[in-house]
Symmetry: C3
Subunit: 199 residues, 3 copies
Amino acid sequence: MFEVLEFVAVVTAAVYGSSLAIRKGMDLVGVACVSLACSFGGGTLRDLFLGRHPLFWMANDHYVAVVLAIALLAARAPQPLKRLQPILPVSDAIGLGLFAVLGAQAARECGGSYLVAAIFGVITGNFGGVIGDVLCNEIPAIFRPAPLYATCAFTGAWVYLLAGHFGLPSVVAAPLGVLAGAGMRLWALRFNITLSAVR
Amino acid sequence: MFEVLEFVAVVTAAVYGSSLAIRKGMDLVGVACVSLACSFGGGTLRDLFLGRHPLFWMANDHYVAVVLAIALLAARAPQPLKRLQPILPVSDAIGLGLFAVLGAQAARECGGSYLVAAIFGVITGNFGGVIGDVLCNEIPAIFRPAPLYATCAFTGAWVYLLAGHFGLPSVVAAPLGVLAGAGMRLWALRFNITLSAVR
Amino acid sequence: MFEVLEFVAVVTAAVYGSSLAIRKGMDLVGVACVSLACSFGGGTLRDLFLGRHPLFWMANDHYVAVVLAIALLAARAPQPLKRLQPILPVSDAIGLGLFAVLGAQAARECGGSYLVAAIFGVITGNFGGVIGDVLCNEIPAIFRPAPLYATCAFTGAWVYLLAGHFGLPSVVAAPLGVLAGAGMRLWALRFNITLSAVR
Protein backbone atom coordinates (compact mmCIF):
# COMPACT_ATOMS: atom_id res chain seq x y z
CA MET A 1 0.00 0.00 0.00
CA PHE A 2 2.68 2.42 1.11
CA GLU A 3 4.83 1.51 -1.87
CA VAL A 4 1.96 2.06 -4.27
CA LEU A 5 1.46 5.57 -2.87
CA GLU A 6 5.16 6.36 -3.07
CA PHE A 7 5.25 5.16 -6.67
CA VAL A 8 2.25 7.34 -7.51
CA ALA A 9 3.94 10.34 -5.87
CA VAL A 10 7.22 9.86 -7.73
CA VAL A 11 5.40 9.50 -11.06
CA THR A 12 3.31 12.60 -10.43
CA ALA A 13 6.34 14.70 -9.57
CA ALA A 14 8.09 13.49 -12.71
CA VAL A 15 5.11 14.46 -14.85
CA TYR A 16 5.07 17.90 -13.21
CA GLY A 17 8.81 18.33 -13.79
CA SER A 18 8.61 17.21 -17.41
CA SER A 19 5.86 19.62 -18.33
CA LEU A 20 7.63 22.46 -16.51
CA ALA A 21 10.85 21.80 -18.45
CA ILE A 22 9.01 21.45 -21.75
CA ARG A 23 7.28 24.79 -21.23
CA LYS A 24 10.73 26.38 -20.81
CA GLY A 25 11.92 25.06 -24.18
CA MET A 26 14.41 22.56 -22.79
CA ASP A 27 15.77 19.55 -24.62
CA LEU A 28 15.55 15.93 -23.48
CA VAL A 29 18.45 16.35 -21.04
CA GLY A 30 16.71 19.28 -19.37
CA VAL A 31 13.42 17.41 -19.22
CA ALA A 32 15.12 14.40 -17.61
CA CYS A 33 17.12 16.47 -15.12
CA VAL A 34 14.20 18.65 -14.03
CA SER A 35 12.03 15.55 -13.67
CA LEU A 36 14.68 13.87 -11.50
CA ALA A 37 15.01 17.07 -9.45
CA CYS A 38 11.25 17.34 -8.90
CA SER A 39 10.86 13.67 -8.01
CA PHE A 40 13.93 13.24 -5.82
CA GLY A 41 14.92 16.74 -4.71
CA GLY A 42 12.83 16.87 -1.56
CA GLY A 43 13.83 13.44 -0.32
CA THR A 44 17.46 14.13 -1.20
CA LEU A 45 17.51 17.30 0.92
CA ARG A 46 15.87 15.36 3.74
CA ASP A 47 18.43 12.58 3.58
CA LEU A 48 21.38 14.99 3.30
CA PHE A 49 20.14 17.17 6.15
CA LEU A 50 19.69 14.11 8.36
CA GLY A 51 22.94 12.46 7.26
CA ARG A 52 21.16 9.37 5.94
CA HIS A 53 22.94 7.23 3.36
CA PRO A 54 22.38 5.82 0.85
CA LEU A 55 19.95 8.41 -0.51
CA PHE A 56 16.51 6.89 -0.97
CA TRP A 57 16.69 6.95 -4.78
CA MET A 58 20.06 5.18 -4.75
CA ALA A 59 18.55 2.44 -2.63
CA ASN A 60 15.48 2.27 -4.93
CA ASP A 61 16.99 2.68 -8.34
CA HIS A 62 13.88 1.47 -10.15
CA TYR A 63 12.52 4.93 -9.33
CA VAL A 64 15.33 6.45 -11.38
CA ALA A 65 14.34 4.26 -14.32
CA VAL A 66 10.68 5.21 -13.92
CA VAL A 67 11.41 8.94 -13.84
CA LEU A 68 13.68 8.71 -16.87
CA ALA A 69 11.00 6.73 -18.71
CA ILE A 70 8.41 9.40 -17.92
CA ALA A 71 10.73 12.15 -19.09
CA LEU A 72 11.34 10.26 -22.34
CA LEU A 73 7.63 9.70 -22.79
CA ALA A 74 6.81 13.34 -22.06
CA ALA A 75 9.40 14.48 -24.58
CA ARG A 76 8.74 12.02 -27.38
CA ALA A 77 5.24 10.58 -27.03
CA PRO A 78 3.25 12.75 -24.65
CA GLN A 79 -0.23 11.43 -25.51
CA PRO A 80 -0.48 8.76 -22.77
CA LEU A 81 0.72 11.22 -20.13
CA LYS A 82 -1.86 13.76 -21.23
CA ARG A 83 -4.53 11.24 -20.37
CA LEU A 84 -3.22 11.33 -16.78
CA GLN A 85 -3.87 15.09 -16.56
CA PRO A 86 -7.28 14.90 -14.83
CA ILE A 87 -6.02 12.78 -11.94
CA LEU A 88 -2.78 14.70 -11.37
CA PRO A 89 -4.18 17.07 -8.74
CA VAL A 90 -5.34 14.09 -6.71
CA SER A 91 -2.16 12.04 -7.07
CA ASP A 92 -0.11 15.16 -6.33
CA ALA A 93 -2.09 15.78 -3.15
CA ILE A 94 -1.50 12.19 -2.06
CA GLY A 95 2.22 12.55 -2.72
CA LEU A 96 2.28 15.78 -0.76
CA GLY A 97 0.65 14.16 2.27
CA LEU A 98 2.78 11.05 2.03
CA PHE A 99 6.13 12.82 1.74
CA ALA A 100 5.17 15.27 4.50
CA VAL A 101 4.61 12.37 6.89
CA LEU A 102 7.73 10.49 5.72
CA GLY A 103 9.83 13.63 6.20
CA ALA A 104 8.47 14.30 9.67
CA GLN A 105 8.97 10.65 10.63
CA ALA A 106 12.58 10.63 9.45
CA ALA A 107 13.38 13.83 11.34
CA ARG A 108 11.89 12.43 14.54
CA GLU A 109 13.93 9.24 14.20
CA CYS A 110 17.03 11.43 13.99
CA GLY A 111 16.11 13.27 17.16
CA GLY A 112 14.52 16.39 15.69
CA SER A 113 11.91 18.31 17.69
CA TYR A 114 8.29 18.48 16.55
CA LEU A 115 8.89 21.87 14.94
CA VAL A 116 11.97 20.64 13.10
CA ALA A 117 10.04 17.54 12.02
CA ALA A 118 7.23 19.67 10.60
CA ILE A 119 9.80 21.68 8.63
CA PHE A 120 11.15 18.39 7.29
CA GLY A 121 7.61 17.54 6.22
CA VAL A 122 7.59 20.68 4.09
CA ILE A 123 11.11 20.08 2.77
CA THR A 124 10.33 16.50 1.78
CA GLY A 125 6.88 17.24 0.42
CA ASN A 126 7.58 20.47 -1.43
CA PHE A 127 11.25 21.15 -2.10
CA GLY A 128 11.58 18.85 -5.08
CA GLY A 129 9.35 21.32 -6.87
CA VAL A 130 11.33 24.24 -5.44
CA ILE A 131 14.56 22.85 -6.88
CA GLY A 132 12.84 22.15 -10.19
CA ASP A 133 11.54 25.72 -10.34
CA VAL A 134 14.98 27.14 -9.50
CA LEU A 135 16.55 25.02 -12.28
CA CYS A 136 13.93 26.50 -14.64
CA ASN A 137 14.84 30.02 -13.51
CA GLU A 138 11.48 30.69 -11.90
CA ILE A 139 10.52 31.90 -8.46
CA PRO A 140 9.33 28.71 -6.75
CA ALA A 141 5.60 28.31 -7.31
CA ILE A 142 4.94 27.42 -3.66
CA PHE A 143 6.33 30.80 -2.55
CA ARG A 144 3.79 32.75 -4.58
CA PRO A 145 0.10 33.28 -3.91
CA ALA A 146 -1.77 30.19 -5.11
CA PRO A 147 -3.93 27.50 -3.54
CA LEU A 148 -2.34 26.26 -0.30
CA TYR A 149 0.43 23.77 -0.87
CA ALA A 150 3.34 23.95 1.57
CA THR A 151 0.81 24.81 4.25
CA CYS A 152 -0.86 21.44 3.62
CA ALA A 153 2.41 19.55 4.05
CA PHE A 154 3.06 21.48 7.26
CA THR A 155 -0.44 20.65 8.52
CA GLY A 156 -0.23 17.00 7.54
CA ALA A 157 3.10 16.68 9.33
CA TRP A 158 1.65 18.26 12.48
CA VAL A 159 -1.41 15.97 12.40
CA TYR A 160 0.92 12.96 12.22
CA LEU A 161 3.15 14.30 15.00
CA LEU A 162 0.30 15.24 17.35
CA ALA A 163 -1.52 11.97 16.73
CA GLY A 164 1.65 10.17 17.78
CA HIS A 165 2.12 12.53 20.72
CA PHE A 166 -1.34 11.66 22.01
CA GLY A 167 -0.60 7.99 21.90
CA LEU A 168 -1.90 6.80 18.56
CA PRO A 169 0.31 4.07 17.07
CA SER A 170 2.23 4.96 13.92
CA VAL A 171 0.03 2.75 11.72
CA VAL A 172 -2.84 5.05 12.58
CA ALA A 173 -1.02 8.38 12.94
CA ALA A 174 0.74 8.11 9.57
CA PRO A 175 -2.39 7.57 7.44
CA LEU A 176 -4.13 10.32 9.43
CA GLY A 177 -1.33 12.74 8.56
CA VAL A 178 -1.34 11.73 4.90
CA LEU A 179 -5.12 12.16 4.73
CA ALA A 180 -4.97 15.54 6.47
CA GLY A 181 -2.30 16.87 4.13
CA ALA A 182 -3.90 15.47 0.98
CA GLY A 183 -7.42 16.44 2.03
CA MET A 184 -6.43 20.00 2.89
CA ARG A 185 -4.72 20.33 -0.48
CA LEU A 186 -7.78 19.14 -2.38
CA TRP A 187 -9.99 21.43 -0.30
CA ALA A 188 -7.73 24.40 -1.05
CA LEU A 189 -7.78 23.58 -4.76
CA ARG A 190 -11.56 23.11 -4.81
CA PHE A 191 -12.36 26.37 -3.03
CA ASN A 192 -9.31 28.29 -4.21
CA ILE A 193 -8.05 28.93 -0.68
CA THR A 194 -4.87 30.97 -0.98
CA LEU A 195 -2.47 32.96 1.10
CA SER A 196 -2.35 36.45 -0.37
CA ALA A 197 0.90 38.14 -1.27
CA VAL A 198 2.36 40.10 1.60
CA ARG A 199 1.97 43.73 0.69
CA MET B 1 27.99 36.69 25.00
CA PHE B 2 28.61 34.40 22.06
CA GLU B 3 25.03 33.20 22.12
CA VAL B 4 23.72 36.75 22.19
CA LEU B 5 25.72 37.54 19.06
CA GLU B 6 24.55 34.42 17.30
CA PHE B 7 20.94 35.24 18.17
CA VAL B 8 21.39 38.77 16.82
CA ALA B 9 22.89 37.38 13.59
CA VAL B 10 20.07 34.90 13.04
CA VAL B 11 17.43 37.57 13.65
CA THR B 12 19.12 39.99 11.27
CA ALA B 13 19.35 37.43 8.50
CA ALA B 14 15.67 36.60 8.98
CA VAL B 15 14.70 40.26 8.70
CA TYR B 16 16.79 40.53 5.53
CA GLY B 17 15.17 37.43 4.07
CA SER B 18 11.66 38.55 4.94
CA SER B 19 12.00 41.92 3.30
CA LEU B 20 13.59 40.36 0.21
CA ALA B 21 10.71 37.91 -0.14
CA ILE B 22 8.08 40.60 0.43
CA ARG B 23 9.63 42.78 -2.25
CA LYS B 24 9.23 39.86 -4.68
CA GLY B 25 5.50 39.57 -3.98
CA MET B 26 5.67 36.26 -2.14
CA ASP B 27 3.06 34.93 0.25
CA LEU B 28 3.65 33.90 3.87
CA VAL B 29 5.12 30.55 2.86
CA GLY B 30 7.66 32.26 0.63
CA VAL B 31 8.53 34.79 3.32
CA ALA B 32 9.07 32.01 5.87
CA CYS B 33 11.12 29.82 3.53
CA VAL B 34 13.36 32.63 2.28
CA SER B 35 13.90 33.78 5.87
CA LEU B 36 14.88 30.26 6.91
CA ALA B 37 17.21 30.01 3.91
CA CYS B 38 18.90 33.32 4.71
CA SER B 39 19.30 32.53 8.40
CA PHE B 40 20.36 28.90 8.14
CA GLY B 41 21.63 28.45 4.59
CA GLY B 42 25.25 29.34 5.23
CA GLY B 43 25.57 27.22 8.37
CA THR B 44 23.77 24.35 6.66
CA LEU B 45 26.23 24.34 3.75
CA ARG B 46 29.10 24.45 6.25
CA ASP B 47 27.74 21.51 8.22
CA LEU B 48 26.95 19.47 5.09
CA PHE B 49 30.35 20.16 3.51
CA LEU B 50 32.09 19.14 6.75
CA GLY B 51 29.82 16.17 7.38
CA ARG B 52 28.64 17.51 10.74
CA HIS B 53 25.34 16.24 12.12
CA PRO B 54 22.93 17.26 13.45
CA LEU B 55 22.81 20.52 11.52
CA PHE B 56 23.16 23.47 13.88
CA TRP B 57 19.53 24.58 13.50
CA MET B 58 18.28 21.09 14.28
CA ALA B 59 20.32 21.13 17.48
CA ASN B 60 19.04 24.65 18.30
CA ASP B 61 15.44 24.48 17.28
CA HIS B 62 14.48 27.66 19.15
CA TYR B 63 16.20 29.43 16.24
CA VAL B 64 13.66 27.89 13.87
CA ALA B 65 10.86 29.27 16.04
CA VAL B 66 12.48 32.71 16.16
CA VAL B 67 12.91 32.86 12.37
CA LEU B 68 9.33 31.74 11.76
CA ALA B 69 8.11 34.36 14.26
CA ILE B 70 10.04 37.07 12.45
CA ALA B 71 8.64 35.96 9.10
CA LEU B 72 5.12 36.07 10.52
CA LEU B 73 5.73 39.47 12.04
CA ALA B 74 7.22 40.82 8.81
CA ALA B 75 4.25 39.55 6.85
CA ARG B 76 1.42 40.52 9.17
CA ALA B 77 2.59 43.28 11.56
CA PRO B 78 5.78 44.81 10.18
CA GLN B 79 5.81 47.95 12.33
CA PRO B 80 8.06 46.67 15.15
CA LEU B 81 10.55 45.25 12.65
CA LYS B 82 10.69 48.57 10.82
CA ARG B 83 11.93 50.16 14.00
CA LEU B 84 14.93 47.77 13.82
CA GLN B 85 15.92 49.18 10.41
CA PRO B 86 18.55 51.67 11.63
CA ILE B 87 20.55 49.07 13.52
CA LEU B 88 20.40 46.36 10.85
CA PRO B 89 23.68 47.31 9.12
CA VAL B 90 25.48 47.01 12.45
CA SER B 91 23.86 43.75 13.53
CA ASP B 92 24.41 42.37 10.04
CA ALA B 93 28.11 43.27 10.21
CA ILE B 94 28.40 41.52 13.56
CA GLY B 95 26.70 38.43 12.17
CA LEU B 96 29.04 38.48 9.19
CA GLY B 97 32.12 38.58 11.40
CA LEU B 98 30.79 35.99 13.80
CA PHE B 99 29.78 33.44 11.17
CA ALA B 100 33.03 33.96 9.28
CA VAL B 101 35.01 33.00 12.37
CA LEU B 102 32.68 30.12 13.26
CA GLY B 103 32.97 28.77 9.72
CA ALA B 104 36.75 29.00 9.68
CA GLN B 105 36.96 27.39 13.10
CA ALA B 106 34.75 24.48 12.08
CA ALA B 107 36.77 23.86 8.92
CA ARG B 108 40.04 23.84 10.89
CA GLU B 109 38.60 21.34 13.39
CA CYS B 110 37.80 19.08 10.43
CA GLY B 111 41.34 19.31 9.13
CA GLY B 112 40.91 21.98 6.46
CA SER B 113 43.88 24.15 5.45
CA TYR B 114 43.92 27.87 6.16
CA LEU B 115 42.74 28.65 2.65
CA VAL B 116 39.89 26.14 2.86
CA ALA B 117 38.99 27.54 6.29
CA ALA B 118 38.83 31.09 4.90
CA ILE B 119 36.50 29.84 2.15
CA PHE B 120 34.33 28.29 4.85
CA GLY B 121 34.25 31.69 6.55
CA VAL B 122 32.73 33.14 3.39
CA ILE B 123 30.33 30.22 2.92
CA THR B 124 29.08 30.42 6.50
CA GLY B 125 28.95 34.21 6.62
CA ASN B 126 27.50 34.92 3.20
CA PHE B 127 25.89 31.96 1.52
CA GLY B 128 22.62 32.12 3.44
CA GLY B 129 21.98 35.32 1.53
CA VAL B 130 23.18 33.72 -1.70
CA ILE B 131 20.63 30.90 -1.34
CA GLY B 132 17.93 33.41 -0.43
CA ASP B 133 18.73 35.46 -3.53
CA VAL B 134 18.70 32.37 -5.75
CA LEU B 135 15.29 31.37 -4.35
CA CYS B 136 14.10 34.89 -5.22
CA ASN B 137 15.42 34.48 -8.77
CA GLU B 138 18.04 37.20 -8.40
CA ILE B 139 21.77 37.21 -9.06
CA PRO B 140 23.24 36.99 -5.55
CA ALA B 141 23.78 40.51 -4.20
CA ILE B 142 27.28 39.69 -2.93
CA PHE B 143 28.41 38.82 -6.46
CA ARG B 144 27.56 42.27 -7.79
CA PRO B 145 29.39 45.55 -7.27
CA ALA B 146 28.35 46.94 -3.87
CA PRO B 147 30.09 47.79 -0.59
CA LEU B 148 32.48 44.97 0.38
CA TYR B 149 30.72 42.05 1.99
CA ALA B 150 32.15 38.62 1.21
CA THR B 151 35.58 40.24 1.25
CA CYS B 152 34.98 41.20 4.91
CA ALA B 153 34.10 37.63 5.87
CA PHE B 154 37.21 36.42 4.07
CA THR B 155 39.35 39.00 5.88
CA GLY B 156 37.79 38.29 9.28
CA ALA B 157 38.43 34.59 8.82
CA TRP B 158 42.09 35.23 7.90
CA VAL B 159 42.58 37.52 10.91
CA TYR B 160 41.24 34.77 13.15
CA LEU B 161 43.39 32.12 11.47
CA LEU B 162 46.60 34.15 11.51
CA ALA B 163 46.08 35.29 15.09
CA GLY B 164 45.85 31.62 16.04
CA HIS B 165 48.82 30.75 13.85
CA PHE B 166 50.96 33.29 15.70
CA GLY B 167 50.07 31.80 19.03
CA LEU B 168 47.13 33.83 20.27
CA PRO B 169 44.65 31.67 22.20
CA SER B 170 41.23 31.14 20.61
CA VAL B 171 39.49 33.39 23.18
CA VAL B 172 41.53 36.27 21.79
CA ALA B 173 41.80 35.24 18.13
CA ALA B 174 38.07 34.67 17.68
CA PRO B 175 36.91 38.12 18.89
CA LEU B 176 39.73 39.68 16.87
CA GLY B 177 38.44 37.98 13.73
CA VAL B 178 34.84 38.98 14.45
CA LEU B 179 35.89 42.58 15.03
CA ALA B 180 38.00 42.66 11.87
CA GLY B 181 35.19 41.29 9.72
CA ALA B 182 32.50 43.49 11.27
CA GLY B 183 34.69 46.59 11.35
CA MET B 184 35.74 46.21 7.74
CA ARG B 185 32.11 45.82 6.70
CA LEU B 186 31.05 49.00 8.56
CA TRP B 187 34.04 50.86 7.09
CA ALA B 188 33.10 49.72 3.57
CA LEU B 189 29.49 50.79 4.12
CA ARG B 190 30.50 54.17 5.58
CA PHE B 191 32.93 55.07 2.79
CA ASN B 192 31.18 53.10 0.03
CA ILE B 193 34.23 50.93 -0.67
CA THR B 194 33.30 48.60 -3.51
CA LEU B 195 34.84 46.17 -5.93
CA SER B 196 33.94 47.33 -9.41
CA ALA B 197 32.37 45.06 -11.97
CA VAL B 198 34.92 43.22 -14.03
CA ARG B 199 34.71 44.72 -17.50
CA MET C 1 48.71 11.21 -15.97
CA PHE C 2 45.37 11.11 -14.16
CA GLU C 3 46.34 14.09 -12.05
CA VAL C 4 47.35 16.09 -15.09
CA LEU C 5 43.93 15.47 -16.62
CA GLU C 6 42.13 16.42 -13.41
CA PHE C 7 44.17 19.62 -13.19
CA VAL C 8 43.30 20.47 -16.80
CA ALA C 9 39.62 19.85 -16.09
CA VAL C 10 39.56 22.04 -12.99
CA VAL C 11 41.33 24.87 -14.80
CA THR C 12 38.96 24.66 -17.76
CA ALA C 13 35.89 24.79 -15.54
CA ALA C 14 37.32 27.80 -13.72
CA VAL C 15 37.91 29.62 -17.00
CA TYR C 16 34.34 28.83 -18.05
CA GLY C 17 32.98 30.07 -14.71
CA SER C 18 35.03 33.26 -14.80
CA SER C 19 33.89 34.26 -18.24
CA LEU C 20 30.28 33.46 -17.40
CA ALA C 21 30.44 35.67 -14.29
CA ILE C 22 32.18 38.47 -16.13
CA ARG C 23 29.51 38.46 -18.83
CA LYS C 24 26.91 38.97 -16.09
CA GLY C 25 28.66 42.08 -14.76
CA MET C 26 29.83 40.55 -11.49
CA ASP C 27 32.67 41.84 -9.35
CA LEU C 28 35.74 39.86 -8.28
CA VAL C 29 33.82 38.07 -5.51
CA GLY C 30 31.23 36.90 -8.01
CA VAL C 31 33.89 35.79 -10.47
CA ALA C 32 35.69 33.81 -7.76
CA CYS C 33 32.53 32.21 -6.37
CA VAL C 34 31.12 31.22 -9.77
CA SER C 35 34.51 29.80 -10.76
CA LEU C 36 34.66 27.74 -7.57
CA ALA C 37 31.08 26.57 -8.17
CA CYS C 38 31.83 25.52 -11.75
CA SER C 39 35.07 23.74 -10.84
CA PHE C 40 33.95 22.02 -7.65
CA GLY C 41 30.15 21.92 -7.80
CA GLY C 42 29.80 18.61 -9.58
CA GLY C 43 32.32 16.78 -7.42
CA THR C 44 30.82 18.33 -4.30
CA LEU C 45 27.34 17.05 -5.15
CA ARG C 46 28.85 13.62 -5.87
CA ASP C 47 30.66 13.53 -2.52
CA LEU C 48 27.64 14.82 -0.58
CA PHE C 49 25.24 12.41 -2.27
CA LEU C 50 27.60 9.50 -1.52
CA GLY C 51 28.42 10.69 1.99
CA ARG C 52 32.13 10.95 1.26
CA HIS C 53 34.26 13.22 3.45
CA PRO C 54 36.40 15.22 3.23
CA LEU C 55 35.11 16.72 -0.01
CA PHE C 56 37.68 16.30 -2.78
CA TRP C 57 38.58 20.00 -2.90
CA MET C 58 39.17 20.07 0.85
CA ALA C 59 41.57 17.17 0.48
CA ASN C 60 43.27 18.87 -2.52
CA ASP C 61 43.36 22.47 -1.46
CA HIS C 62 45.88 23.47 -4.11
CA TYR C 63 42.91 23.25 -6.48
CA VAL C 64 41.22 26.01 -4.48
CA ALA C 65 44.30 28.18 -4.90
CA VAL C 66 44.44 27.44 -8.62
CA VAL C 67 40.79 28.34 -9.17
CA LEU C 68 41.13 31.55 -7.18
CA ALA C 69 44.23 32.46 -9.18
CA ILE C 70 42.37 31.90 -12.44
CA ALA C 71 39.46 34.04 -11.23
CA LEU C 72 41.87 36.81 -10.28
CA LEU C 73 43.64 36.55 -13.62
CA ALA C 74 40.36 36.55 -15.54
CA ALA C 75 39.22 39.64 -13.66
CA ARG C 76 42.42 41.66 -13.68
CA ALA C 77 44.70 40.44 -16.47
CA PRO C 78 42.68 38.33 -18.89
CA GLN C 79 45.16 38.32 -21.77
CA PRO C 80 46.94 35.04 -20.94
CA LEU C 81 43.62 33.26 -20.42
CA LYS C 82 42.36 34.50 -23.76
CA ARG C 83 45.22 32.67 -25.39
CA LEU C 84 43.77 29.45 -23.91
CA GLN C 85 40.49 30.00 -25.76
CA PRO C 86 41.23 27.78 -28.79
CA ILE C 87 42.02 24.70 -26.68
CA LEU C 88 39.14 25.11 -24.23
CA PRO C 89 36.68 22.92 -26.15
CA VAL C 90 39.23 20.09 -26.10
CA SER C 91 40.22 20.46 -22.46
CA ASP C 92 36.57 20.79 -21.51
CA ALA C 93 35.74 17.57 -23.36
CA ILE C 94 38.55 15.78 -21.53
CA GLY C 95 37.27 17.08 -18.20
CA LEU C 96 33.78 15.96 -19.09
CA GLY C 97 34.94 12.43 -19.86
CA LEU C 98 37.21 12.25 -16.84
CA PHE C 99 34.65 13.45 -14.31
CA ALA C 100 31.96 11.23 -15.82
CA VAL C 101 34.13 8.16 -15.22
CA LEU C 102 35.21 9.33 -11.76
CA GLY C 103 31.60 9.93 -10.77
CA ALA C 104 30.44 6.55 -12.03
CA GLN C 105 33.37 4.84 -10.30
CA ALA C 106 32.62 6.53 -6.97
CA ALA C 107 28.95 5.59 -7.15
CA ARG C 108 29.81 1.96 -7.88
CA GLU C 109 32.20 1.85 -4.93
CA CYS C 110 29.33 3.04 -2.73
CA GLY C 111 27.06 0.28 -3.99
CA GLY C 112 25.08 2.17 -6.62
CA SER C 113 23.59 0.29 -9.58
CA TYR C 114 24.83 0.88 -13.12
CA LEU C 115 21.98 3.30 -13.80
CA VAL C 116 22.67 5.27 -10.62
CA ALA C 117 26.37 5.28 -11.48
CA ALA C 118 25.65 6.70 -14.93
CA ILE C 119 23.57 9.45 -13.31
CA PHE C 120 26.54 10.18 -11.05
CA GLY C 121 28.67 10.49 -14.17
CA VAL C 122 26.37 13.26 -15.37
CA ILE C 123 26.22 14.93 -11.95
CA THR C 124 30.00 14.92 -11.56
CA GLY C 125 30.73 15.88 -15.15
CA ASN C 126 28.06 18.51 -15.69
CA PHE C 127 26.52 19.86 -12.53
CA GLY C 128 29.31 22.26 -11.67
CA GLY C 129 28.21 24.20 -14.71
CA VAL C 130 24.57 23.81 -13.72
CA ILE C 131 25.24 25.37 -10.32
CA GLY C 132 27.29 28.13 -11.92
CA ASP C 133 24.46 28.89 -14.35
CA VAL C 134 21.90 28.94 -11.53
CA LEU C 135 24.10 31.36 -9.54
CA CYS C 136 24.19 33.55 -12.68
CA ASN C 137 20.39 33.44 -12.89
CA GLU C 138 20.35 31.53 -16.16
CA ILE C 139 18.61 28.36 -17.23
CA PRO C 140 21.43 25.78 -17.16
CA ALA C 141 23.07 25.65 -20.58
CA ILE C 142 23.11 21.85 -20.65
CA PHE C 143 19.30 21.79 -20.37
CA ARG C 144 18.85 23.80 -23.55
CA PRO C 145 19.28 22.71 -27.15
CA ALA C 146 23.01 22.83 -27.96
CA PRO C 147 25.70 20.36 -29.00
CA LEU C 148 25.46 17.21 -26.89
CA TYR C 149 27.06 17.60 -23.48
CA ALA C 150 25.35 15.77 -20.62
CA THR C 151 24.62 13.00 -23.11
CA CYS C 152 28.37 12.56 -23.59
CA ALA C 153 29.00 12.22 -19.87
CA PHE C 154 26.17 9.69 -19.68
CA THR C 155 27.64 7.75 -22.58
CA GLY C 156 31.19 7.87 -21.24
CA ALA C 157 29.99 6.58 -17.89
CA TRP C 158 28.14 3.70 -19.58
CA VAL C 159 31.15 2.78 -21.68
CA TYR C 160 33.25 2.60 -18.53
CA LEU C 161 30.60 0.60 -16.67
CA LEU C 162 29.98 -1.87 -19.49
CA ALA C 163 33.69 -2.32 -20.18
CA GLY C 164 34.07 -3.26 -16.52
CA HIS C 165 31.00 -5.46 -16.65
CA PHE C 166 32.47 -7.45 -19.53
CA GLY C 167 35.64 -8.08 -17.61
CA LEU C 168 38.01 -5.34 -18.69
CA PRO C 169 40.24 -4.20 -15.82
CA SER C 170 39.72 -0.68 -14.51
CA VAL C 171 43.00 0.58 -16.01
CA VAL C 172 41.50 -0.17 -19.43
CA ALA C 173 37.84 0.57 -18.78
CA ALA C 174 38.45 3.99 -17.27
CA PRO C 175 40.47 5.44 -20.17
CA LEU C 176 37.95 3.90 -22.57
CA GLY C 177 35.14 5.73 -20.81
CA VAL C 178 37.05 9.01 -20.76
CA LEU C 179 37.82 8.68 -24.45
CA ALA C 180 34.23 7.82 -25.31
CA GLY C 181 32.85 10.80 -23.40
CA ALA C 182 35.46 13.25 -24.69
CA GLY C 183 35.34 11.93 -28.23
CA MET C 184 31.57 12.08 -28.41
CA ARG C 185 31.64 15.66 -27.15
CA LEU C 186 34.18 16.74 -29.78
CA TRP C 187 32.19 14.92 -32.45
CA ALA C 188 28.99 16.69 -31.36
CA LEU C 189 30.76 20.05 -31.40
CA ARG C 190 32.34 19.41 -34.79
CA PHE C 191 29.14 18.34 -36.51
CA ASN C 192 26.77 20.38 -34.36
CA ILE C 193 24.86 17.34 -33.14
CA THR C 194 22.11 18.58 -30.84
CA LEU C 195 19.01 17.40 -29.11
CA SER C 196 16.18 19.65 -30.24
CA ALA C 197 13.89 21.42 -27.81
CA VAL C 198 10.90 19.35 -26.89
CA ARG C 199 7.91 21.03 -28.53
